[in-house]
Symmetry: C2
Subunit: 281 residues, 2 copies
Amino acid sequence: MSAWFRDGVACESIPIDDRGLQYGDGVFETIAIRDGSPRLWRYHVDRLVEGCKCLRITPPAETVLRGWLEHALRSSAADVADCVAKIIVTAGVSQRGYGRLSPSEANTLVGLFPTMPLAADAYKDGVETILCRTRLACGSATAGFKTLNRIEQVLARSECLAAGAFEGLTLDAEERLICGTMSNVFIVSNKVLMTPSVERSGVAGVMRRHVIDCLEAAGISVQIGDITEQEFNAADEVFLCNSQFGVLPVRSCGAHQFGVGELTRRAMALLAGNGIGECAV
Amino acid sequence: MSAWFRDGVACESIPIDDRGLQYGDGVFETIAIRDGSPRLWRYHVDRLVEGCKCLRITPPAETVLRGWLEHALRSSAADVADCVAKIIVTAGVSQRGYGRLSPSEANTLVGLFPTMPLAADAYKDGVETILCRTRLACGSATAGFKTLNRIEQVLARSECLAAGAFEGLTLDAEERLICGTMSNVFIVSNKVLMTPSVERSGVAGVMRRHVIDCLEAAGISVQIGDITEQEFNAADEVFLCNSQFGVLPVRSCGAHQFGVGELTRRAMALLAGNGIGECAV
């Protein structure tokens, strides 16, 4: 199963002149479809709209976008009750040249892909990670947003695949921990829960937002700030989150071992009770 | 006139699954065609190949690439003796996900566009520029290369268009001068010629390389290093270069005025004698 729709119509290609290809001029969301509905839809739409604002792209109205997604789900020959939906909004076609004078008419693509559920062991015992050699540039004008400029993630993720690890963690050029190639990261040190700021680089994941909201609602505060490589290595617990798998404990990063501790279990239980069924172990 | 060819065949679209669109996973060159031949071909190919190496993409052999470019030029209905050729090499189509285990088979696109010669006044009196608010991130893993991740240039160039300036100059997040949105920049201070390092961000332009080579061959040394905003503002002369227009004096950046001085004229005369006819004024 893999199918694309463009502005609601089945489609396999886009014009070469599309600014999404020419300059990576666009944003995207990777949404978990569960029981036929998009999970964390509100957060995905919020980030998509903010990203479009940053790039001065006029996105489709939320109801139109939702309609196109539901049309794609209805049109699919495969069973899409549980799947991955990728929504891409590009700045559309324009004349050659980087600049755009007015906000661009968006070109919206919706793709459906099979979901890849993880083994229960991953949630119980944790996953293996590596620290990537690829560094994220600091001070990105689009930090936090999920733009189509993802070469850093391509390079880092390729390192991770070569090492056979579940995820690769990335530092920025100033050696601060930022995020995983496809996830955000939380650490616990001396019972304090922390996650890196994504104001200078990295992506502000929708599941990161959901984890922070669920934890804070349960009276557990999350510190957002700078985390050095040394602080990361000395952590008592580490966990990852993303829109597809929810929350996963990290049992190692290279030679460093981490325990699957109390706060990680607490976070997973809270998420399991807040719509993220995968986290129930 | 505007025509695209894919791997040598006329083509208007690419698969949505192409990694060039999904992640900006690719590189490009914008080449000046003069008298039917690509100018600075050697430098363009060198940078394309190095960029592909950085991204672990296997580019087409140089002879194949040249053959596709010449086929495109021969196939064009319009007069393409003088035009702009854009070559895009993407990492091709792959499964969903950032990572790639092996070097990708490239997908190569060649597009032809009309050239836009500048008025002689621009070369004689210089052009107006602005300093963009958009900052370039520092410590990019692909600094110097012309990848398809160009959102910073889109944002900065859009500022420049809105201001009605010929070019927008960009600083990095640490306030160092780096380059223009579509050009490299040189400054002259107390008879010393300098150009910013592009090792942490920015693009190492082919015309920048040609300017440095021509000047050094004439016994004029070029310092490559960090240039602060203050140093830039205090410059005696400023000039831009790119593959299309060659070398252009800068007469202002916002409220700052610059003279069109002796070293700029010398550089233009040297370039005019080394294949860049536009610089003869």
